[in-house]
């Protein structure tokens, strides 16, 4: 199950979606908004997705994870729009007969989501300045580095 939403995510409901009598393991990851990054203070984050391609890429990652690991259910929900401190921006939940597959698939999904799914975040710092987070875009591109 893949979803992108501009509403707060009910992580318990996402976890419940992957639970199964066939599962011996359920692993849920929550990505949450961090207040302090490298000495700077965040006020909130603003996420933007490429509608359509973001969902399609997530579905492709779910299919790849199911090929690599023995998974029962997979659920990924990503927030867009304004996300306050401590709020959840992404939930990845997987179930499997055994825990190793659940741990590994959950980590691989989250790491890969952050590499290839077209969803971007903008830091709105406590001092009022804003900055799109684009690793690899350094000062020569006119963008402050990460």
């Amino acid at each position: 199950m893949i979803a992108i939403t501009d509403q707060p995510i009910d992580h318990a409901a996402v976890t419940d979606r992957v639970r199964s009598t066939r599962a011996g393991a359920v692993c849920t990851f929550l990505g949450t908004t961090r207040e302090f990054t490298g000495g700077r203070t965040t006020n909130h984050l603003d996420y933007e997705a490429y509608p359509g391609m973001a969902e399609r890429t997530l579905e492709d990652l779910e299919a790849q994870a199911r090929q690599r690991w023995d998974l029962i259910e997979v659920a990924v929900v990503h927030r867009v729009g304004r996300v306050e401190l401590g709020e959840i921006s992404v939930v990845v939940a997987v179930s499997s007969p055994h825990r190793v597959a659940a741990f590994e698939a959950c980590q691989w999904l989250m790491d890969t989501i952050k590499q290839v799914v077209p969803i971007w975040k903008k830091e709105i710092w406590a001092d009022g300045t804003e900055e799109w987070v684009h690793p690899g875009l350094g000062p020569e591109s006119g963008q402050a580095g990460p």
């Binding site: 590499q115 290839v116 799109w132 684009h134 990460p146």
Partner: protein, 93 residues
């Protein structure tokens, strides 16, 4: 031909619009599109080497042909960064 290219995040911010229209010779590849976009929108030139190009919701390489009417987007590096994206220009982090 003229193609419409969707922009996101810092690219949209630089141009000040969610999409641009770029004139291309026919036939044209994604590499041609990169060059033309940088020439016709100089504010994107420094970002282009680090951006991926998506055609019909899939990442494509520079050798792929571009067809009029295709859904095309420039994809800035996403928040986790990745080897999936082009190596940043020398001297950047």
């Amino acid at each position: 031909m003229t193609v419409t290219i969707r922009l996101f995040a810092v690219a949209r911010q630089r141009v000040g619009a969610p999409e641009i229209r770029v004139d291309l010779p026919e036939p044209a590849t994604v590499g041609d599109l990169r060059r033309a976009a940088g020439e016709q929108y100089p504010e994107l030139a420094l970002l282009l080497p680090a951006m991926m190009v998506a055609v019909e919701n899939e990442y494509v390489g520079d050798a792929v042909a571009v067809a009029e009417g295709s859904e095309i987007a420039l994809i800035p590096p996403v928040s986790g960064g990745s080897a999936a994206f082009a190596t940043p220009p020398a001297g950047t982090q």
